[in-house]
Amino acid sequence: MRHLRPLNRKAHRIAAFAAGDVHAQAQTYPFGCTTIFSPGWETDAAGGTSGLCAPIERDLYDCYKTCFWPAQVPDYLVNYPNWAAACGSPVQDWRAIDLVFP
């Protein structure tokens, strides 16, 4: 962030967030899918792989439903409620999941 300068209101908020000024608010669960940048399915919270679901499809709907990895999965809560309407279980039938074009 040292080489970036916020120009608009949203950028100022991101800068304040990065500076830790809004720490308590950042811990609020971000309904609306905007601020989580967890690495994804490559590593778990401890930096290893033993905590990951196997196969990854088993974890897909929990992430979709709660918007945990919005960078990797469409979000159910706001933008793509019908993404998985045709597929009950991704482990069994992931090909039935719809495509999205953000």
């Binding site: 669960y29 309904f31 609306g32 679901c53 196997a54 974890d59 709907y61 809560l77 279980s89 482990v91």
Partner: protein, 359 residues
């Protein structure tokens, strides 16, 4: 031994009438929009309840066990399931055109006509969503509207940091926090400190920190039986135990340490109230609730994000669920895996033992 004998009557099996055995049917939400009824006597799905507004996020069962509140509609509302009829009879939406209102929790109130809703409002700005402070709503189910609301941060500490729930006899709103207090739901103020838990009962004992809900599904109107965590002030170590609270006598009726605390301690209790099973530290533990001690351990490595979800009505089988679309069935005798039960969709919520015989 004496403690075990004292506790034994408190853990006696609930009265069972000619109806359905308590704990026989487990209800669970599955993708994309239904509740399945799982019969633990047969290990198979025997019913399916379609929901009106999509995925089930959370369940709240009323104390009379006749209505089930189900959070749906992308957490923007809830539906009411008539338990005996096994069908949705009403639904409510909280969001408006200007604000998204995410529902975090539903608490039944005495009388059954109003509920407390814990919500997170999100204002729709022209270019973004602005998440607002959490609120608590007093919601009238007959008028279908919010009667009062409070910012969660403005509530008294005993309520704000506590778990709110209707008392087992259905007459009062309780807050389970550092202490057990009675709350006035119309004003959200503490009416009475019912049982003190934060102050150690005697020197050398730590305060009781209750964990989770009532182990016996609030079937006893005069008692809570909960797990607690306590930190030994001398050894500086956490321990887990069983705590029985006498609501009529307004006192701790009994307590006993089970063993050291371990992560992921989420027990499944057998319907006869005598055994519990818990998974932690890559071991399956069998706990004798009468003697209050771990009687058996077996090394078992479950897949990530899988945990114990229930016990069959005869107490002979354990169900391991979690993320995904299946339960693995284990024998409580051998602790070996018996079979796998697959559901038509990924599990989204539950399970909850809903139906019961006469209480």
């Amino acid at each position: 031994m004496i403690a075990a004998l004292l506790l034994a009557p408190l853990l006696a099996a609930p009265a069972q009438g000619p109806g359905i055995e308590p704990g026989r049917f487990l209800w669970l939400g599955v993708w994309p929009n239904r509740i399945l009824v799982f019969d633990t006597a047969k290990d198979e799905v025997v019913g399916s309840i379609p929901l009106r507004k999509g995925v089930a996020f959370d369940f709240t069962l009323t104390r009379d066990r006749k209505r089930l509140f189900v959070s749906t509609d992308r957490m923007e509302g809830f539906e009411i399931v008539d338990v005996p009829r096994r069908e949705v009879v009403d639904d409510f939406r909280l969001s408006t055109d200007e604000r998204i209102v995410r529902l975090d929790d539903i608490v039944e109130l005495p009388g059954g006509k109003r509920v407390l809703l814990s919500v997170t409002p999100v204002k729709k700005e022209i270019d973004r969503y602005a998440i607002e402070k959490k609120e608590v709503w007093l919601f009238d189910l007959e008028k279908r509207e919010k009667v009062k609301s409070w910012k969660e941060k403005d509530l008294p500490r005993e309520i704000r940091r506590a778990r709110l729930l209707l008392s087992p006899d259905g007459t009062a709103l309780h807050a389970f926090g550092r202490d057990l207090v009675v709350v006035d739901p119309e004003e959200m103020k503490v009416k009475e400190k019912l049982i003190e838990l934060a102050k150690p009962l005697f020197a050398g004992l730590g305060p009781f920190r209750p964990m989770g809900g009532d182990l016996f599904d609030y079937r006893d109107p005069d008692r809570y039986t909960v797990l607690y965590r306590s930190r030994d002030p001398i050894r500086k170590k956490n321990a887990t135990g069983l705590l029985v609270l006498d609501l009529k006598g307004k006192k701790v009726a009994d307590f006993g340490e089970i063993g050291p605390e371990f992560p992921g301690f989420r027990p499944a209790v057998s319907p006869d109230r005598k055994k519990a099973f818990a998974y932690g530290n890559e071991h399956l533990h069998e706990i004798d609730l009468v003697a209050r001690r771990i009687v058996r351990q077996k090394e078992l490595k479950l897949e990530p994000r899988r945990w114990l979800t229930g016990v069959s009505v005869d107490g002979k089988r354990l169900y391991v669920g979690g993320a995904g679309e299946r339960w693995d069935v284990y024998s409580t005798e051998s602790l070996e895996k018996l079979r796998t039960v697959e559901f038509p969709g990924d599990i989204t919520s539950g399970p909850i033992a809903v139906e019961s015989g006469p209480l």
